[in-house]
Symmetry: C2
Subunit: 339 residues, 2 copies
């Protein structure tokens, strides 16, 4: 069998899966941000006709998959597997969406690393020959996350400046074995790394070491340099975590400054939108990738990028029991050419 594993944590595809279509659906606040022109649908309120925020999030995810399939000009029954996850307890947004979609379903939980976790597994399953088409999707919703992880919204609790704003949105990618790109060429799978932070209003700092670790590991495994990329973009470290990750990567001998950004920094204009450190949530990297980055790849404004969705592995229970917040991050390389 040909060598598919590179170094310790990276896979290089022999027949890189192609991303044949994507979709992005966002909430009203995201629809007023700097990336608004890239999103397929901007919903007008945070219920979208549903009775609860949780049901709205499930609808966001389900409609994101349907729209991506429509953009790909295929139907549900042509999709071999659905890889989906979200932040809600027992990933109910994904499960109830999967009930409607009726595609064989692998439920994932990677906190906000879910988008690249789903692309990593989906791409391996396609390149391995087990599927012709897979759908990868992740979602989050400001109001479901706030009341589950933090406080009732009605309380009007004040947020520290290190806090991030959970993105309301869902993004989906349809991967296929035969296609004309953009291609998923490499995946680097992360380990859980815990810097010992206990402040759940400072998640960027909690996740930054995991992001730095997987990015450095990717360079070591592949031999790529930062300058091989047009864009290296983390999921939702936001402004504080982004600076920490950049410093940690620099200490390992790689300067990524010229090409480095973060989805949580890109999605909101903090000067106007008062989102403090920036965006977060599974939906953050999901909509920034499937909306903004994918369209820039199609237009050749970007040609080779690395997306590193980042997750903070806490629950209200683990926090109450005095646990710190470990992070995880998974990296995928997406390129217009197979080099």
């Amino acid at each position: 069998m040909a060598q598919k594993k590179l170094g310790k944590q990276t896979v290089m595809f022999q027949n890189p899966p192609s991303i044949m279509a994507t979709s992005s659906i966002v909430g009203p606040k995201e629809g007023q941000g700097p990336l608004k022109d890239y999103f397929d649908i901007i919903i007008q309120d945070d219920l979208w006709g549903e009775e609860s925020w949780e049901k709205c999030e499930s609808k966001l995810q389900q409609e994101a998959v349907r729209l991506a399939l429509s953009n790909a000009k295929i139907v549900e029954s042509q999709v071999d597997y659905l890889f989906a996850g979200d932040l809600l307890n027992q990933i109910i947004a994904s499960s109830f969406s999967a009930r409607s979609l009726q595609i064989p379903f692998f439920g994932l939980y990677g906190a906000c690393s879910t988008m690249t976790e789903s692309i990593s597994l989906g791409a391996m399953i396609i390149d391995g020959g087990y599927a012709d088409k897979v759908a990868c999707v992740a979602s989050s919703h400001f109001s479901t996350a706030e009341r589950q992880y933090r406080y009732p919204l009605e309380l009007g609790n004040q947020r520290p400046l290190t806090a991030q704003w959970t993105v309301t949105g869902a993004g989906a990618s349809i991967l296929t074995s035969q296609g004309e790109g953009p291609y998923v060429t490499h995946v680097t799978t992360g380990k859980v790394i815990d810097p010992g932070i206990k402040d759940s209003n400072n998640m960027g700092a909690a996740m930054a070491p995991a992001a730095a670790d997987v990015i450095v590991q990717h360079f070591k495994d592949t031999g790529f340099k930062p300058s091989d990329y047009d864009l290296i973009i983390t999921g939702d470290l936001a402004s504080i975590g982004k600076d920490i990750a950049e410093d940690l990567i620099k200490k390992e001998g790689y300067s990524i400054s010229k090409v480095y950004s973060d989805c949580g920094v890109k999605i909101f204009d903090n000067e106007v939108q008062d989102t403090h450190a920036g965006g977060s949530g599974c939906g953050c990297s999901a909509v920034v990738f499937n909306g903004y980055i994918y369209k820039e790849l199609l237009q050749n404004k970007l040609n080779k990028i690395m997306l590193i969705s980042t997750g903070a592995l806490l629950s209200p229970t683990s926090a109450q029991q005095g646990e710190s917040i470990p992070g995880i991050a998974h990296a995928v390389t997406i390129s217009n050419s197979i080099s």
Copy 2:
């Protein structure tokens, strides 16, 4: 590329991954049940030296992986990927275990279908050539599940006879590309199926249609008959769900009665242990498979089995919002010979 997909939902492996070792760790109650002699470790109380039941569950999972690695005579650094999940909000049992193990980590949420979800993905990743060794693990804990899903244990709430007893335990399998079996030869991936049941004390009935659907699909995809198997065993339908599944499968023209059992029925002696319908939880099929079934395969008392872990996709929030309980089930065929 050789044909790996059979029918709609099944994969047949070209180089079936071998299960080189397993482990099972259970709680005191499981350690008094009919399968007690098959388990590697029976803990003496439900904290196992930890400060909380949640930390105990994380330790169960971590120690199950360590023990399986030890049984396989390998160490953490030789394992390419960890596939793990549990029932806790944000799968904290798995995440904190993965922090300790330092193996590249894919977090899963499939409710009690997690054991076969993890084996399905792990086997595809190995047969696909992306890994040489993977660890697959799932856990549950009676006390963490009760207080998260139902009532404080201190309340001493009465349980209806349809209720099941969440297994305290963790089971792990180590899969490898080169080995002498037992082999994972086929996986059939389930869809979410919702019979409309809203009673969270009747999960067996909620999951039975999903189990029946994936078993029937497996027969259709592979051409196998029930008599090709020494044992067809569902995860945790328990006594009520088991009968429903058997009936549903019979209506589709397959009689599985002679070889059919359920992990939730096997693990407790309801006459003595007062567990009502039987066992449940991710740990149920995890310890029954990795304890009892694996050892029976090694001794050639069983030679070809199908394990179908079954999950009920509810959360307290979805129940409060009036949602029904959809089910999911994933089937894996494990055989001593590659036919």
